[in-house]
């Protein structure tokens, strides 16, 4: 029997009591009624933009086989609301809060980061990969160059360590990760959603108001895991893995593939308390395997 199992991990100098946090856009103040936020590794509220924005026309969701498409388009109340309401709300739980920032230009990213500097969130996640903003589902994060430029600009003003959230809708995600790393990002998180579509054959119309949307959930897990594994081999910075995680076993797959921490997205919709379950399943796994520190298995997949 093991004395104690340590689930502590470190992302860019920030210690997390365990590697489990929500994926942006799938967790909010309302979640606190269902999950004990003080138990999480970190808290990642929904991405916000400089100004409030209304998002895309409904319908915004379509269920698919083992997954779902969403086309929310980052409906949010803007930076000011984040600073005055969301951040203080979550800070009271005593775990690191990661500000997920979305923007349409380098300038907007910089403006937001300067404001965050004043409040010292633990970390900032740059959402350069939302497929629901630009026309045709394009995102900054689909180009190594654009990613480099944005991260460089963000880094030039940020006093807070940066996580860059990568898009999976690319030929070679390691190239984008390396661009973000060389621009100075302190960590990467991957993946955001895959651009997808569904058609209602009865009405002959797209099921989403915005035609296409982002695919998330268990369906994408194998692709996300492959990407995390590929990126973890190439970069020196910590990798945060996500995409379809809905159990401790899923989380461990990502950790073995090289993720220092994991995010849970769509899983929160099915069970708003799922992250607590995942944390305890990770602990059980380590206990069963007689491993006392989770850091021992990060990137631990055995390749023969």
């Amino acid at each position: 029997m093991m004395e104690r199992i340590s689930l502590k991990v470190n992302i860019a100098g920030v210690e997390l009591q365990n590697p489990v946090m929500p994926a942006s856009g799938t967790f909010g103040m309302e979640s606190a009624e269902y999950v004990d936020c003080s138990k999480l590794g970190a808290i990642v509220p929904k991405s916000f933009t400089l100004k409030p924005q209304q998002g895309n026309p409904p319908p915004r969701v379509a269920e698919t086989s083992c997954g779902m498409l969403n086309a929310v388009g980052i409906q949010n109340k803007g930076l000011e609301y984040f600073l005055s309401v969301t951040l203080p709300f979550f800070e009271k739980y005593g775990v690191p809060v990661i500000a997920s920032v979305s923007a349409y230009s380098e300038e907007d990213f910089m403006t937001i980061i300067k404001e965050l500097n004043k409040k010292k969130t633990a970390l900032i996640e740059l959402n350069v990969s939302c497929p629901n903003l630009k026309e045709g589902g394009k995102a900054f994060g689909q180009s190594a160059e654009e990613t480099y430029k944005i991260v460089k600009a963000a880094k030039s003003v940020s006093e807070i360590p940066l996580i860059t959230k990568l898009s999976p809708n690319v030929t070679d995600i390691t190239e984008i990760a390396l661009a973000a790393e060389s621009a100075g990002t302190d960590a990467v998180s991957l993946v955001n959603t895959f651009l997808g579509m569904a058609i209602d054959i009865n009405t002959m119309r797209p099921k989403l108001g915005k035609i296409t949307g982002g695919l998330s959930g268990p369906a994408i897990k194998p692709i996300a895991l492959r990407m995390v594994w590929q990126v973890a081999q190439k970069v020196k910075i910590p990798v945060i893995g996500l995409g379809g995680i809905a159990s401790g076993a899923d989380a461990i797959e990502f950790i073995l593939a090289g993720a220092t921490a994991v995010q849970v997205g769509t899983g929160n919709f099915v069970r708003p308390d799922i992250m607590e379950k995942i944390i305890s399943e990770i602990e059980d796994y380590l206990r069963k395997k007689n491993i006392s520190d989770i850091n021992q298995i990060i990137g631990g997949v055995i390749i023969e």
């Binding site: 799938t26 309302e30 969701v61 269920e63 083992c66 929310v72 919709f269 708003p272």
Partner: protein, 254 residues
């Protein structure tokens, strides 16, 4: 998440089923018009919970009742539930119907499955001594339910059907008017039809009364965090699961 046990799950005609569930936690908390999200089956297919209005509840007995239409994959699975089966529930969630302080008479207009969310309101209001005028609309008599429960709690019930043309908006308007002439209606509540919603809105404007509608949208989280379930209102896109499902008619039709 709460665990419930199915007590009954029977077809009631019109493709609807009536399901009673034992779940004291929900029965204790739920308010008229609120919603419960059912994970119809473990695993990832179907992935998301399905939202259902609470039809009736009994705080003492600890039971909650639903009436649902069997439509797609999820409700087909639910149709197979048998007494004794455990089910996985999230809720109650969302805004409830609220009776105005001092209201003496209300009208409820429900159509199809939209009737579900209004029945407990009718029962509660009648129980508090209000007069309740209920207009229940459906394709055929098979598509209307709830009459007995409402009548036994002293509501006045009108059923109208497409089959005989009585569900026509003009006819419903007439029923409402006639009722108003018998005594002022203080609040009007509607669910299940855009047309009836518009009628209720016009009626409420004309007579300067309060009116509410309960809306449906596709959902993911059910608790207000994902913003997929929005509907357009005069206040912008609002979340049906959290800001609704019950909205003032003026926000939807205004």
């Amino acid at each position: 998440m709460r665990s419930g046990v199915v007590l009954a799950n029977e077809a009631i005609g019109g493709g609807y089923r009536h399901m009673a569930v034992n779940c004291p936690e929900i029965a204790k908390e739920v308010k008229d018009g609120q919603v419960v999200h059912i994970k119809v089956k473990d695993g990832n297919e179907p992935l998301l919970r399905r939202p259902f209005s609470v039809y009736l509840y009994d705080r003492e007995a600890g039971t909650v009742e639903f009436v649902y239409a069997v439509k797609g994959a999820g409700t087909k699975i639910m149709a197979g539930y048998e007494p004794g089966d455990e089910i996985d529930l999230l809720g109650p969630t969302g805004k409830a119907y609220e009776l105005k302080e001092g209201a003496k008479k209300i009208a409820i207009l429900g159509r199809g499955v939209g009737i579900v969310s209004l029945v407990s309101l009718g029962v509660s209001a009648a129980g508090k001594g209000l007069r309740v005028e209920a207009i229940l609309s459906g394709k055929t008599p098979d598509h209307v339910f709830g009459r007995k429960v409402l009548e036994s709690s002293a509501a006045v019930v009108h059923e109208v059907y497409d089959a005989d043309g009585s569900s026509d908006v003009e006819n419903v308007r007439k029923i409402l008017e006639r009722s108003r002439q018998e005594g002022a209606i203080d609040q009007i509540f509607v669910c299940g039809s855009k047309r009836l919603g518009k009628l209720a809105y016009d009626f409420s404007q004309e007579h300067g009364i309060d009116g509410y509608i309960s809306l449906e949208e596709r959902m993911a989280c059910g608790i207000g965090v994902c913003y997929v379930c929005v509907c357009k209102t005069t206040k912008g896109y609002q979340r049906v699961c959290k800001d609704g499902p019950v909205f003032p008619l003026a926000e939807v039709y205004g």
